[in-house]
Amino acid sequence: MKAVFGILLVLIVWHLLHFLFPSSLILPGPVETFEVFVKILNRETFEALLSTLLKGLVTTFIVIAVGLPVGFVMGISDRMYEFLRPLVTVVQAVPVVSWLVVVIFLWGIGWQGPVVISSLSLIPVAVFTTVSGVRSVDRKLLEVMKVYRVPRRTILKEVYLGSIWPFVLSILEVSSGNVWKAVVMGEYLCGDRGLGVLISWARQYVDVPRVYALTIFTVVLGISFERSVKVLARRVWKKWRLS
């Protein structure tokens, strides 16, 4: 119910702002945007949505598949941390436009660019979150393992991996909120299909209401995915009673 009131508040503020700036070129009103939103509920938009969704899922997979092992190794070995930290920090600091040049030279316009750009912008966060996870492993549990001479491999699998689960969920939560923004931006800059490409076309035709309607699509997609991940995460938290 509170969410409904929140959405209503956004619509009211939006409408008032449109009243102050009545130009559709600057801020189309909610009614006009909704009309366009209904109009673009067609095959083309759904294909774009599907393309963005797939890129988002692939990106999330890459972020977990790269960020988790790299963060894990950096977390358990100080030497590896010192060795890899500069690289990860540099990747984190490089502006997206700089990646754009490399990506366009390598793959041109296509699906690879948005996936690579969004992965690179999210992997460092995943790496450093995993490092924190590994380092926060309960020392007391490690002492138990040491006293009872549990093999190192078992400790890594049963204690470390178990301990970083909450951090994996946290990476998923953070990524799920940001991945869509990153993918749509990547599509906008160097994609051949997807919501970002449609937004780019609408911008070229100065079709601002369409830009807004497509943005709503992206926001709905992002919120739905983030919510789903949160529900999943809450179930796991509940099972372990760690929260």
């Binding site: 007391k140 138990v144 006293v147 549990v150 049963e158 178990g162 689960w165 099972k239 372990w240 009673r241």
Partner: protein, 221 residues
């Protein structure tokens, strides 16, 4: 043996031996290095001096249960030693039969502490280290676990090193008690208990407890 923490002396020149099958208690105030001593013996702490441990089959009942929260009781125990029959038998002895598939958060502190005992006994220890493990247990369970330890000790004659500040527990469980001073701690005296109490209601226990308290007070005066 000596142990300093950031230049502050905690343990000052302790020297004693524990033979195979001995039951020894280190009795002293909080912060006198009792737990540190057990950590040293089990290889968890650095120190100055020399400690020789005659076995690597060590069971350590920690002060707190230290169970992996996302694993069931069975999974926690199997990680230490895969012996389902022995595990089942020990869990039954500490009245935890039926809780094998529970997670630690589903058990009370006392129940978790009993799992801690089972874990230590599961490895068939030749040296059992007990770090004030009875505080979380109610009187009935405490007596049950203590009797279980004594029974097992009579059958297997493993060595027990027990640290506590509880005189009654020390007197009941051990044959020799080392009385410790506060920090930096020294061994003030060694009390040998020739008589043994049968249980917590045995009159002998009160007499022995009184004797140890009086000795301790005379040393601290």
């Amino acid at each position: 043996m000596r142990k300093d923490f950031n230049g502050m002396k905690v343990i000052e020149n302790w020297s004693f031996s524990v033979g195979k099958g001995d039951r020894v208690t280190l009795l002293g105030p909080s912060g006198c290095g009792k737990t540190t001593f057990l950590r040293i013996v089990s290889g968890l702490e650095d120190f100055q001096g020399k400690v020789e441990v005659f076995t690597d089959k060590i069971g350590y009942v920690f002060q707190e249960p230290r169970l992996i929260p996302w694993k069931t009781i069975t999974e926690n125990l199997m990680l230490i030693r895969r012996d389902p029959d022995k595990m089942a038998s020990l869990l039954e002895k500490v009245e935890l039969k039926g809780f094998e598939n529970h997670y630690p958060w589903q058990l009370s502190e006392g129940m978790k502490q009993r799992v801690n005992f089972v874990r230590a006994l599961l490895v068939d220890p030749e040296l059992l280290l007990l770090d004030e493990p009875f505080d979380a247990l109610d009187l009935k369970t405490k007596m049950k676990v203590m009797n279980l330890l004594v029974d097992l000790w009579q059958k297997r004659r493993f060595s027990i090193v027990f640290v506590t500040h509880n005189v009654k527990e020390a007197v009941f469980l051990s044959e020799r008690i080392f009385l410790l001073s506060g920090r930096p701690s020294k061994i003030l005296d060694e009390v040998e208990l020739k008589e043994k109490a049968r249980d917590f209601t045995d009159e002998k226990l009160f007499g022995l407890e009184k004797m140890v308290i009086e000795r301790l007070l005379s040393l601290l005066r």
